[in-house]
Amino acid sequence: MPRPLTLLLPALIPSWNFFDVIAPSPRVQYGLTATAETEPKAWLEFRPRPERVSLLQMAQRLLWNPERNESLFLTSCAERLVQQPTRHSEDEIFKRIAADLAADPDTAEGPPWLWFRLVFISRDGDGLSQEVLFEALPRRRSDIAIR
């Protein structure tokens, strides 16, 4: 069966098992280095949540929520990368981190090598545990198409 029809089938015959189990949750972390040989000293969370979101912002996001929906897409890519790794998911994450860095004047001219890794958070007894389940090979920022 052609690939798009395979992707369409779960929509036409849906399972509707939303939140049946609360699976480990991914966070995308990135780092920048001067060379491809040395790992980042500090990993930063990509798009950390704001401390608070006002009721007005929540109402506005009903109609305009592109950043949040993109973050949810990246969560899907992260889950795919540990379940069935594909070049596509890795490309999408690199592309969107690189685009954000390029758009920010503080990071637009930073170190040339971009790294990312996926940290999964899960329940561990009464606490939480974190585990790095995927780390991408670094890419040169100038090689990532961001337009």
Partner: protein, 226 residues
């Protein structure tokens, strides 16, 4: 509500939902802008009722290109409902006989009912949902809460226990709302409030519009069956 009215209202609401989603892609990458500009154009034709059913056929074809582009739905469940609605409407309109048209709209309405019932069923089978622990974990560490402040809700076990049972109870009881037009409207009002809460707390705005678009189909189905 007649079949034609339900079909037309569903396609207009769906087209508006797809325009809202498409606009969110217009600020990013050029390839996405092209793809979603075409989708906005087709949605406008659907709303105007121009050239029916071909704009819907175009949207269905384009949905395959978008699925390929993102290697699946861009936003999981909400996009799946949008795809289901789009393909059911398209196939319904392409059917040469009335019973065929009815069949696809009825399938869409039935899937809306199942989307609530099955979600409730899989939750109630899970002891973590019955104890409120699953919802606490959604707030504590899942990717969904829109702010760090909301994570504090994980420390309110009694509130979350009540919320868990309220969600499961509503979802499992939803099929009963089909017994009368009034109970269905009440059920849909509760459902819309539920999606609104999910949009506010978890940023799932697309669910609200995608599910809302399908409400005319289930209202028609209720009248057709009872």
């Amino acid at each position: 509500m007649t079949l034609d009215a339900a079909s037309r209202l569903t396609e207009i609401l769906l087209a508006l939902a797809l325009i809202q989603q498409s606009l969110e892609h217009m600020t990013r990458f050029r390839a996405e802008q092209v793809l979603f500009s075409v989708r906005i154009g087709l949605c406008v034709l659907v709303i105007l009722g121009f050239g029916s059913p071909w704009p819907l056929v175009g949207l269905a074809g384009l949905s395959l290109v978008i699925l390929e582009r993102f290697q699946g739905p861009y936003n999981g469940g909400s996009d799946r409902m949008g795809l289901l609605a789009l393909w059911c409407l398209t196939l319904s309109q392409l059917m040469p006989i009335p019973v065929g048209k009815e069949l696809f709209l009825a399938y869409l309405g039935a899937q809306l009912m199942l989307s609530y019932f099955i979600s409730g069923w899989v939750k109630i089978l899970n002891p973590d949902w019955r104890s409120g622990r699953a919802l606490a974990e959604v707030f504590r560490f899942s990717a969904y809460p829109v702010s760090e402040a909301l994570r504090g809700w994980a420390n309110r076990p009694r509130v979350l226990l009540v919320m868990s049972w309220a969600v499961m109870g509503f979802e499992l009881a939803f099929p009963l709302t089909l017994l009368s037009p009034i109970s269905l409207l009440a059920g849909l009002a509760v459902a819309a409030t539920f999606h609104l809460a999910n949009a506010c707390l978890f940023g799932l705005n697309r669910f609200f519009w995608s599910w809302f678009a399908v409400y005319p189909a289930i209202i028609w189905l209720q009248g057709r069956i009872f």
